[in-house]
């Protein structure tokens, strides 16, 4: 190679590369802190994206080293095959872009699951390739242990996320399903995975290129583990699981960074690992359950069924769309309590229409948002914002709970457990202690519900049997549409 212009060597300087990485980290952290407020959030996300572009470009500047450890001059990452990178980006970027642009707001959680899954897949594949290239043997435990950790976690995250996607997309049954002793099977699979990894790490550190079947076996075992971990979990618990898998992928990225001695991967991966863990915990707390309990399969499982509400007294009073319309038309204040059912029925636009009809008649309309309403914390806000609901009408739980006593009609749309007064009163209830919306304090309540069954947790809701409550059965979207029609004809 001929002598290059002086400027090029500056680009190749490890200090330049490290410096640019530091700029990228600063942008990641600054961007994430921007996500703490609705006003700065858009900018924050874009700042983080700029950080990502810098990190990628910087990586492509890393020079290749010759056998003496000297940088080989030349533009970009040593012997890199640009065709592969460009080809992969040409395939991947439009796929990611188009699916992100097309996805419906209600399908957001499974989209995030899918994006998270492919990230985990990337990590697992890299760990596998590192083995195939003999890197474990060459560098010993320092590379083998973090790589194998990354492989296990990445693979579990990939398959787990895909199951989460399939469940939320209703490609497979969303109900909890599992066999007895599932937890022991999972524990056994985990032990097998750890055992295989330990053997691989030991054998390669002895200078042997272990048979590849061990790695393939490890990929299979961790894949099954990922499937088994998520399959027994019910659809409503999925947000917590996706968040957990998101944290997993972050951790696996950080481990891969240790193996590859790349600071960008370590820092970015670990920030995601830490933040994802906190987020997961906050979601679990809001649902009054623990992460281990969710991962152990199904909410409550046997214990909930045993201690479940022993048949709530009373009857449900059914109502009609026209009665509901009249009731709300003459109210002073209506609080809409949207839940999982609204997200499933994609009724947010119809609900917004309903609110407009009511506002025309001088009714004050507010929305009571439980922290875990929808399919993810904050998901309901996204759905309602999409339907142009003014931000100041969305009330958080603490804010609205004192307001229910002054509310004429509470309209509960596909929400169940988050309105269950048993959480406040019934110590034997599995959801006792969970923070709820005090809907039962309002003067009257209309509950839109698909059928007479209990919520996903299988817990009877005394609210439905309250004399002040009337039930409107049917699909949430068409029920709301019926009420709107009745209101227009009033």
């Amino acid at each position: 190679m001929t002598q290059l212009p002086i400027g090029t060597s500056f680009i190749h300087d490890p200090n330049t590369i490290y410096g640019l990485y530091i700029v990228a980290f600063a942008l990641f952290i600054y961007g994430l802190s921007g996500l703490t407020g609705p006003k700065t959030a858009v900018r924050g996300n874009r700042i983080a994206a700029v950080g990502m572009v810098i990190a990628v470009v910087t990586t492509l500047l890393i020079p290749a080293l010759d056998p003496d450890g000297e940088a080989i001059p030349g533009f970009g990452i040593g012997g890199i095959d640009w065709a592969v990178i460009v080809g992969a980006v040409i395939v991947g970027a439009p796929l990611g872009w188009a699916s992100a642009k097309k996805v419906k707001m209600t399908a957001m959680p499974q989209m995030v699951a899918l994006f998270n899954g492919v990230g985990g897949g990337t990590v697992a594949l890299i760990a596998w390739i590192e083995f195939r290239r003999g890197t474990y043997v060459e560098h010993g435990l320092e590379v083998a242990i973090p790589s194998l950790f990354a492989l296990i976690v990445g693979s579990v995250s990939f398959w787990g996320s895909n199951v989460a996607f399939a469940k939320l997309q209703e490609l497979i049954d969303g109900k909890p399903r599992g066999v007895k002793g599932q937890q022991f099977v999972n524990l056994f699979l985990l032990l097998v995975a750890v055992g295989l990894s330990a053997y691989l790490a030991y054998d390669t550190s002895q200078g042997n290129q272990t048979s590849e079947w061990f790695v393939v076996g490890l990929l299979v075992v961790t894949g099954i583990l990922g499937l088994f971990l998520v399959l027994p979990i019910g659809g409503a618990d999925m947000p917590v699981v996706i968040s957990l898998l998101n944290a997993f992928t972050g951790l696996s990225a950080a481990a891969m960074g240790v193996a590859l001695d790349n600071t960008a991967l370590i820092v970015a991966g670990m920030i995601v690992g830490a933040s994802g863990t906190i987020l997961t915990n906050q979601m679990a707390v809001a649902m009054n359950r623990t992460i281990p309990a969710i991962v152990a399969g199904g909410f409550g499982g046997d214990s909930a069924a045993a201690s479940g509400a022993p048949g709530v007294e009373g009857v449900m009073r059914a109502t009609s769309a026209s009665d509901a319309a009249i009731q709300m038309a003459y109210a002073n204040q209506v609080v809409i309590v949207p839940g999982y059912g609204l997200a499933v029925a994609q009724a947010q636009h119809t609900v917004r229409e309903l609110a407009k009809e009511l506002e025309k008649r001088g009714v004050e309309v507010k929305y009571a948002i439980h922290p875990v309403a929808g399919r993810m914390p904050g998901h309901m806000n996204v759905l309602l914002a999409e339907a142009d609901v003014p931000y100041d009408q969305l009330k958080e739980m603490e804010e609205i709970n004192g307001d229910f006593a002054r509310t004429d009609v509470s309209l509960v749309i596909g929400a169940n457990d988050v309105t269950n007064p048993a959480a406040n009163t019934d110590k034997s209830s599995p959801i006792y202690g969970m923070p709820i919306l005090n809907v039962n304090e309002s003067k009257s309540t209309i509950v839109l519900k698909r059928g007479r069954g209990s919520g996903y947790a299988g817990i009877e809701n005394p609210l439905f049997f309250d004399p002040k409550t009337s039930m409107l059965f049917g699909d949430a979207k068409s029920s709301v549409a019926d009420i709107v029609k009745e209101l227009q004809e009033l």
């Binding site: 994430l32 703490t36 407020g37 959030a41 858009v42 996300n45 874009r46 983080a48 990502m52 890393i62 290749a64 012997g79 990178i85 991947g92 970027a93 990611g96 872009w97 699916s99 992100a100 642009k101 707001m105 957001m108 995030v112 899918l114 994006f115 492919v118 990230g119 897949g121 990590v123 594949l125 890299i126 596998w128 390739i129 290239r133 998101n246 972050g250 696996s252 990225a253 960074g257 240790v258 590859l260 960008a264 991967l265 370590i266 820092v267 991966g269 670990m270 920030i271 690992g273 830490a274 933040s275 906190i278 987020l279 917004r352 229409e353 914390p377 904050g378 806000n381 996204v382 142009d388």
Partner: protein
């Protein structure tokens, strides 16, 4: 033993592994500090945003690719290609989808236009 460690440290000989673990631990605390202040409302966008950031694994694919020679193994090349495609989807999709979610929280300054959209 401890003397040897002290000597090694004095010579600036702390291994890269230890340095990297140090960075790992600090980054964990940074993640904790930044995130614990996010309001409930923004949890979904936040999850999506952090999801995009761990797409940084695509760098890992690039680094390994740079060290891999095509003749070495075509299969490795295929795996790397898939890995980088996956990583790219993670990054691009992650940031775009977060952006879409967050755009909705922006106040809409044209209420008249809102009405038109609704009536359609």
């Amino acid at each position: 033993m401890s003397l040897a460690l002290v000597t090694a440290a004095a010579e600036g000989g702390a291994s890269t592994l230890i340095q990297n673990i140090g960075i790992l631990v600090l980054a964990g605390f940074v993640g904790y500090a930044v995130i614990s202040k996010v309001p409930n409302t923004l949890h979904t966008p936040l999850m999506s945003g952090t999801n995009a950031i761990h797409g940084i694994v695509v760098l890992g694919g690039m680094i390994v690719l740079a060290e891999t020679i095509r003749e070495e193994s075509v299969f490795n090349y295929v795996l790397l290609f898939i890995a980088i495609v996956f990583g790219t989807i993670n990054v691009v999709g992650g940031f775009v989808v977060t952006d879409r979610m967050l755009e909705m929280f922006k106040s809409k300054p044209t209420p008249s236009k809102q009405g038109e959209e609704k009536s359609s």
